[in-house]
């Protein structure tokens, strides 16, 4: 069977300072159209298998404090 690869094209980094913010976690989970963010009791988690589905809408960037969420295009070195 062929393997499945994740995080080939896009990575998302959430700053440590806001990672535990449950309120923000819920907001991020809500706005992302491709379910990259999951809200848990301990805050926000990245759902790795959905990273490459990112549509670059920036709704997560806008929902968080400036610079707290970074969407990284891994194909841009």
């Amino acid at each position: 069977m062929a393997e499945t690869l994740n995080k080939v094209f896009i990575d998302v980094e959430v700053d440590a300072s806001i990672k535990g913010d449950a309120e923000l976690a819920k907001k991020l989970e809500e706005v992302c159209p491709v379910d990259i963010f999951a809200a848990t009791d301990s805050g926000v988690e990245i759902v790795e298998k959905n990273l490459d589905e990112c549509v670059l809408c920036d709704l997560c960037v806008d929902a968080a404090p400036d610079g707290a969420v970074l969407v990284i295009k891994l194909y841009e070195s």
């Binding site: 062929a2 393997e3 690869l5 080939v8 491709v34 490459d52 670059l56 841009e76 070195s77």
Partner: protein
């Protein structure tokens, strides 16, 4: 969706058109019983979704119930054009005075159902239309109003049929037109419509086809009256593993649409192409320039990376595929960068080098600049809208055949 003859008879019967006292039998014993009940000479007919039954030995006459059972036994085991019968129809051998033809089809130019009637039934209607045009009557029916008998009467009268025959055939053709409309048929044909020696009219054979798009709203007929299971789609041919896998990937994810066909295709160049018209154009372009497509496909709407990847992987995993060409007509709705991610990922997941494996990438349109960045990073050869679909196909063919592009 196609129907077996025994189902078509049932449909015709439901519409109020006279049929024979036929029996649908799955065993030789059932056939014997049916022949006994009929109590006279019978015809045993294979129930397969194929033509040419007579020639293949799938239609036999029997004078006694024992003979009927014998013929049924043989026919139930007889494969016709790759199809095994579901059962046999046991029909009383009719005392026919004259055979007529009646059908209803769609007329795409008039945008109405068209009734066809001929007093030269039992043979190929297209032949009759060519050699004896004044023996074929044509008439359209309205889409909006209830279908009146007189429209059928006019169609029949145009062939010269008159007298009691006209009066008996009229309600039958009218009912056929109504069932065509009510049941969303694309074809409703009775050939022959027989006038028996006693003057009565009866449908000796029936052929029905329903529009696939309407199957969802005909549950009453399909599930209740005909007891056809939902999975029983009666495709014209058995889908291949490739086709089934692609359909499964498509069904599992609502984002965008993919389709793959490989029936009748054999080649080394996999095609990951779209949209509908683009796929047709590109498949022609590849073949016309000496390429050998391994398949046909269609990408439509706005598929996810996973869906695009899924299609590309299925194509790459086909026997004999060496490279894929990823090409579409200009896209407004599909995202170029998303498709780029999908096809590159397919290569990576299969342990293949995207630059080597993707012979050409030609999708101009939405988010193309972002797509080009991705393609550049992975060394995939691509072209923009200034390169025509024809030329892009040519480059793919040249690449796979080893000539300098």
């Amino acid at each position: 969706m196609r129907f077996y003859e025994y189902e078509a008879r049932k449909i015709v019967e439901l519409a109020g058109i006279p049929v024979t006292k036929y029996g649908f039998c799955k065993t030789a014993e059932e056939a014997r019983v049916a022949a006994e009940e009929i109590g006279g000479p019978v015809v045993i007919k294979s129930q397969v979704l194929s033509g040419g039954r007579m020639k293949a030995g799938g239609v036999k006459f029997a004078d006694t119930p024992a003979e009927a059972a014998e013929h049924a036994e043989a026919i139930l085991k007889l494969e016709i054009n790759g199809h095994m019968p579901r059962g046999v129809l046991v029909d009383p051998k009719a005392e026919v005075k004259q055979e007529y033809y009646a059908s209803v089809v769609w007329d795409g130019t008039a945008k109405r159902p068209l009734m066809l009637f001929s007093d030269m039934g039992g043979i190929d209607i297209e032949e009759v239309a060519e050699t004896h045009p004044d023996h074929v009557g044509r008439g359209h029916v309205t889409n909006l109003m209830p279908i009146p008998d007189f429209e059928a009467k006019q169609t029949i009268a145009a062939t010269g049929v008159t007298g009691s025959q006209l009066n008996r055939a009229t309600p039958i053709l009218a009912k056929l037109a109504r069932l065509f409309r009510d049941y969303d048929m694309t074809l409703a044909e009775i050939n022959p419509l027989a006038e028996l020696t006693d003057g009565s009219f009866v449908a000796l054979d029936a052929h029905m086809e329903m529009e696939n798009e309407a199957v969802g709203r005909q549950k009453g007929l399909l599930r209740k009256h005909l007891e056809i299971a939902e999975e029983d789609t009666r495709e014209t041919y058995e889908p291949s593993d490739f086709e089934r896998n692609v359909a499964a990937i498509d069904a599992a994810d609502h984002r965008g649409v993919i389709q793959g066909k490989d029936h009748g295709f054999e080649g080394n160049l996999g095609l990951v192409i779209g949209a509908g018209g683009g796929s047709l154009t590109l498949t022609d372009a590849v073949r016309s320039q000496g390429g050998k497509p391994a398949n046909y496909s269609e990408i439509g709407g706005n598929p996810s990376v996973a869906k695009a990847c899924g299609l590309a992987k299925e194509v790459l995993e086909k026997d004999g595929v060496e490279k894929i060409a990823v090409m579409m007509s200009i896209v407004s709705n599909t995202r170029v960068d998303i498709v780029a991610r999908g096809v590159i990922k397919a290569c990576l997941e299969l342990g293949k080098d995207p630059g080597e494996t993707i012979a050409i990438f030609r999708i101009p349109g939405a988010w193309e600049d972002e797509g080009f960045k991705i393609l550049d990073k992975y060394g995939v050869e691509y072209c923009d809208r200034s390169v025509s679909m024809w030329e892009a196909a040519g480059r793919a063919v040249a690449k796979i055949q080893g000539a300098p592009a």
